[in-house]
Every structure is written in structure tokens, then in C-alpha cells.
Amino acid sequence: MSLKTPVLSIQGLHVGIDGTQILRGIDLNIRPGEIHAIMGRNGSGKTTAASTIMGHPDYEVESGSIELNGADLLELEAWERARKGVFLSFQYPQSVPGLQVGHFLRKSVAAIRGDEAAKGAPFRNALKSAMEEVSIPRSFLSRYVNDGFSGGEKKRFEILQLMLLKPKLAILDETDSGLDIDGIRVVSRGINAAIRGSDSGALIITHYSRILEHVKPDYVHVLIKGKIVKSGGPELALKLEDKGYEWLETNATEND
């Protein structure tokens, strides 16, 4: 199968929040096994794109379509999308005091992958090896979800969930922000383990190219003012590192 259905297919997506248009026509196809990166400055619409794909109710899709493996996502609520295989690693994961990590992971795996996947030795073994991969100690399981976690712990916990939930599409929103170089290496290891060699696709959203040195993207897209103004291979990330966004911003304005 050389022409596989894209894991994620976005066509002509326009999105607004509180009446302000943020995404102004996005087209994007991610095929199985591909890792794409969206790069852009603050306010370019990166997080809007991530939240919209996941189904945050505050973001209003004005026009366009989002499909997962050829099936429409727009009519589904966030939890239904999650059960279909969409995963979002949050830039700011929320804390839930009193909800134990171990319990939460088991419930989430059961919700998304079914009760069987959350039972017995297979679950325990998967949990153990995933925790080792992202350097999370066992004691973590009895802590409360993101409650009192350091920035690095939060990000590693997001990746742990990614590994256990085995989504078809993983969106990683600023997973590298606030991480030191070792932190980036650890989460990258987890992302590679979850996506590489699978039929899943990934969308990495980032300011900087640092994480892309560890998780090599197949494609890089530059988002400016709600539009993808340039797409290319991994070399585009390096060029951005070198030259910044300014040369592209001029283009974006011209295109208007």
C-alpha cells in the first residue's frame, strides 16, 4: 500500500475563538509513520491548531474539515476523538488533586484501548517499561495527576501517557518548552518509541528546532498568522534556526 489514507487530513481549516479568526486556511496531510513539525512564533496559531484537532469546545471551526483515517472528527467531542485515537500532549497539563497517577493511567487506558488492555500483567509490564523509557520512578504512581509536578515531570508524564495510550495521531504541543537538554532527550526517546515503526502519525508543535534534532521530522511546516506559509524537509527547521522567521513573514504579508 503505497497510497495509504492519511492518518490526519486537514483541508481548508478556518478556526476562530470569541469571534476572532486565528487559523485562516490550513491544509495538512500526515500519513502513517510520518512525523510532521509545525513551527511558528507565539500567536501564530500553533496551539489553536492543536486544540482544534483535539476538540476543545472554545475553538469554533468556521469552515474546512479534519479527518482521522478518513473519518470526520468535527462532530465528535474531545473524549470521542481520544477514543478514536487522537492524543494531545499539553503545553500546560492540568493538575487534578486527589486523582492518583496509577489509577488515572489505568482508567485512561481502559477508556481508550479497552478494559483488556488495562488489566493484569500486560498492563503492568507496559507501564513498567514505558516508565523506564521516560525515567519516571515507581513512586510517581501514587502521586496526584500533575499536582506539584515540576515542569519537566509534567512533560515526561505526558509522554508516558502517549506511550500507554498508543494513539493513531499524537499531537505534541510545545513538549520541549521548559525542558533542559536532558529533559528533551528523555521525552524524545519516548516519542520515538511511540511513533517510529508504527502506523501512527505525529504532529510536533514547537518554537525551536532543538527537539527536532532528537525526533527527526519528515516534514516541517511554518505557521505564520494562521497560515502555513512554507513546507519542507528537516532542513527547513535548520534554516529557521539560522535565519529566524522574518524572511517568511514578509512572504506571508505579500500573500495576503
Partner: protein, 469 residues
């Protein structure tokens, strides 16, 4: 006896069915000295109990309503319409079909066995498995523990009851303790001898013992020197009741070095006034813990209290309250540090939803002679929607400067982002809310015996279902 075994045994109690008794005695509604004397006479009580009932009755009549709490709701109580005494067999007159469907559904979804559902709804009056009852009781008896319903306690151990009855909560304490003292029926009497530790939380058969639940139950627990006991009262299942007024009194006495933990979980139907006086007295190096969960009712006013009378004694009150539509939970704690080196901890958590109101009302005092006391008060409120309400009335009266006091209060609302985060992990909005709510209650839930904790979590999940949209 391990909890597993107890549960297994309790799971079996259908075999212990009894034919309901039919000796029905029911008084007309309304209260008078005659009614009070008659209650005592029917129960064949000693003279002193009759007299204390009568005195309490007069005090009840003369005493005004409490000047705090939900005064408007309190004024809604029509004391003339309350029936002050009924033998449990009355309940058999009810029909299963009369129990509201939503309550029956809740029973089903909590996984409460049908036999127990019927008992909880008052459709059947007796719900004991002789096998369970006796095996546990024999176990306790062999250690010298007295474990009886209050009426039997008075009959079999009149001197012990006389010594402690009203010793912690005099009938003059408040209007409702007076009422309870005048007309009490049922409740538990427990005496734990010196040095005896009752290992298992004693809830298994009390949960299924009809005599223990009543409108005006009276419980007295005495833990002698160095003994310990964990008593569990109530059940997470909705207690369907056509009686609108429940007013219990619970007295605890922890002698030197003793440890009493009293856990309650109650879920009243929305027509009930739940006005309860609970107080313990802790002697030297003793510990008293109230673990108190309040769900449902129209109005609950309940402030479990501990008097730290002996040096080095310790008190803990951990409570949760859940106020839904049309409900007001006015709950909290009272602790009096009368002796030196005493310590106390209050953790109060309330949730308000659908216009419900949760109030924390707490009082901690340190007497001038009590040196080096430590007290810690934390009250947290979680509001689930805009129309709901929370308020706190904390009072600290510290008359000794050596005391170390800590007080923290927080009010939080469930945020959309929190819900979205959980939804992105495959949980519906209702499930997400239930996770947040159960997490909030977790410091309480973890103190409960496991099966109660599981039930409470399920119950909160059910409560969240109606809350969307």
C-alpha cells in the same frame, strides 16, 4: 476477622431472612410529657431514664431554635407532624412500589443487593443475618466487648449506661439534643474493656441491623483505658425516608490512652432535616477521630466535637459535605483544648452543585491553662457551577499564647481546562467531573473502609451525571 471474610459473610445474608414482626406500636404525631412517659414505659425503662426524658422534654419545649445555621429552613420544621415513636415493624407497611424510582435506580447502580435495598427503603424492617450477627458478636464478646443496640444496652447494663449517658452531651446542650434525649430510640451501645483492641472496623452487621437506624437514635461508645475501636455508621446508599426529621446524639468517651474512630457516611433523601449532635471526650493521651461524610438531606447541621480534657490527647475531624439542588450542608467541627500538649486537626471539604450550599462552621478553643497546644484547620470548598454557594464561619479562641495555630481555607471552581484535559484522555464530561470530585474528596475517602470508599466514588459519579448542560 478479616474484612474479606466479613464481606463474604455479609454478601450471603439473604439466607438470614426473618419474617417481619407485626407488633406495631405507633404513636400519633405530636409530642407531650405523656408521649415521652409512654415511650419510656413501653420500653420498660428504669425510673432515672424516664425522669431524664421528661426533663429533657421540658427543656426542648422551652429552648429556642439555634441562632445560627439555616434559620429559615429550621423554622420550616413542624414538630407537631413528627411521629416520635414507632416500632420498626411499622416500616413493613410500606410497599416496594412506593419507593421512588430514582432511588431504586441509584440502589441498582451502586450495586446494593436487592434485599439490602428493601431494608434501606424501609420496606422490610429486619435485616439481619443471624449467622453474621452472631459470629461477629461472639468474636467481640470473647474479648469482653459489649456491643448492643442502645435499648438492650440499657436493659443489660443499666449501671454503665447511667454512668455515661448524657455525660458528654447533656440534654441542655441544645434544642435537638434535648429532643433526642426525650424521645430517643435505637442507636448503639458499645463498651470496650481496658487494653482491648477491636481489630476490624465494626460496620458489617450494623449496616444491616434495623434497630440501629432511627429518627432519634442514641449512640454511646465507651473505650476504656488503652483500648481501641473503629465504628462505622451509615451507608452511601440513599436512605429513603418519609420521616422528615432525624436528630441523633452520639457520645464518645475515650479513657486514658484509648483510641476511638467514628466514621459516618450518610446520604439522606432531600426532604430530611438532619440535625445531629456528636461529641467525644478524650482523656489523657487518648485519641478521638470523627470521619464524617454528609450527602443529601434538605438541611444538615452537624459539627462533630471533641473535648480534649486530658494532657496529650489528640482530636481529628475529617469531613466532607456534598450539597446538591435544594440542599444546605452546614457542617464543620468543634474542638476544645482544655489540657496541655493537646493537638487537633480539622479537614473539612465541601462540594456545592446545582444551586446547593455548603457551609463550614468551625470552632477551636484553647483554654488559658492549656500549654503548648497545636491546632490545624483546613477547609476547602469546590464549586461546580455558578448558582452554587459556599461560605465559611471559622472561629478560633486561643487564650494561651503558647498555642501553635494553623488555618487554611480555599475555594475553587472546576475549570474548563481541567475537564478538557481529562476528556482528551478518553473520559466523557461526566466522568471527568467525577474524577475531579472524587479526587477532591480523596483525603476523606482514603480514611474509609474500602467498600465504603468504592461506593462513595460510584455515588459521586452518579451525582455528576445529571450535571451536564
Amino acid at each position: 476477622m478479616a474484612m474479606e471474610e466479613a464481606r463474604e459473610a455479609v454478601g450471603d445474608y439473604k439466607v438470614g431472612w426473618h419474617d417481619p414482626e407485626h407488633s406495631t406500636i405507633r404513636f400519633d404525631s405530636g409530642l407531650s410529657e405523656d408521649v415521652v412517659r409512654n415511650i419510656s414505659k413501653i420500653k420498660d425503662e428504669p425510673e432515672w431514664m424516664t425522669e431524664i426524658r421528661v426533663k429533657a422534654y421540658h427543656h426542648f419545649v422551652d429552648r429556642p431554635m439555634p441562632g445560627f445555621g439555616d434559620r429559615e429552613a429550621l423554622e420550616g420544621i413542624d414538630f407537631d407532624k413528627v411521629c416520635y415513636f414507632l416500632r420498626s415493624s411499622d416500616a413493613t407497611e410500606k410497599d416496594w412500589g412506593d419507593v421512588p424510582e430514582d432511588i431504586r435506580n441509584t440502589f441498582d447502580r451502586l450495586g446494593i443487593p436487592e434485599a439490602e435495598q428493601k431494608w434501606l427503603s424501609g420496606v422490610t424492617a429486619q435485616y439481619e443475618s443471624e449467622a453474621v450477627y452472631h459470629s461477629i458478636r461472639e468474636d467481640l464478646e470473647s474479648q469482653g466487648v459489649i456491643f448492643l443496640d442502645m435499648d438492650s444496652g440499657l436493659k443489660q447494663h443499666p449501671e454503665l449506661v447511667k454512668k455515661y449517658f448524657c455525660s458528654v452531651i447533656p440534654y441542655q446542650d441544645n434544642k435537638f439534643s434535648a429532643l433526642n434525649t426525650a424521645v430517643w430510640s435505637g442507636g448503639s451501645f458499645i463498651y470496650v474493656p481496658k487494653g482491648v483492641s477491636v481489630e476490624m472496623p465494626v460496620q458489617a452487621y450494623f449496616r444491616i441491623n434495623a434497630k440501629n437506624m432511627g429518627q432519634f437514635e442514641r449512640t454511646l461508645i465507651v473505650a476504656d483505658e488503652g483500648s481501641s475501636i473503629h465504628y462505622v455508621e451509615g451507608c452511601t446508599a440513599p436512605t429513603y425516608s418519609t420521616d422528615s426529621l432525624h436528630s441523633a446524639v452520639v457520645e464518645l468517651i475515650a479513657h486514658e490512652g484509648a483510641h476511638i474512630r467514628y466514621s459516618t457516611i450518610q446520604n439522606w433523601s432531600a426532604n430530611v432535616y438532619n440535625l445531629v449532635t456528636k461529641r467525644g471526650i478524650a482523656h489523657k493521651d487518648a485519641t478521638i477521630e470523627w470521619i464524617d461524610g454528609n450527602i443529601g438531606s434538605k438541611l444538615t447541621m452537624k459539627y462533630p466535637a471533641v473535648i480534649l480534657k486530658g494532657e496529650g490527647s489528640h482530636a481529628e475531624v475529617i469531613s466532607v459535605a456534598y450539597a446538591g439542588k435544594g440542599q444546605h450542608q452546614d457542617a464543620g467541627a468543634k474542638i476544645h483544648h482544655l489540657a496541655s500538649n493537646t493537638t487537633s486537626k480539622i479537614l473539612s471539604k465541601s462540594i456545592s452543585k446545582d444551586g446547593g450550599r455548603g457551609s463550614y462552621r468551625g470552632m477551636v478553643t484553647v483554654s488559658p491553662k492549656a500549654e503548648n497546644c497545636k491546632l490545624n484547620v483546613v477547609c476547602d470548598a469546590l464549586i461546580l457551577d455558578d448558582g452554587s454557594q459556599t461560605d465559611t464561619y471559622p472561629t478560633m479562641e486561643v487564650a494561651n499564647p503558647s498555642a501553635r495555630c494553623e488555618h487554611e481555607a480555599s475555594v475553587s471552581k472546576v475549570s474548563d481546562n481541567q475537564v478538557f484535559y481529562l476528556m482528551s484522555r478518553g473520559h466523557s464530561e461526566e466522568e471527568a467531573l467525577a474524577m475531579i470530585v472524587n479526587g477532591f474528596f480523596e483525603p476523606f475517602t482514603r480514611e474509609l473502609p474500602m467498600e465504603y470508599a468504592v461506593e462513595l466514588n460510584k455515588l459521586m459519579a452518579l451525582e455528576m451525571e445529571g450535571s451536564i448542560g
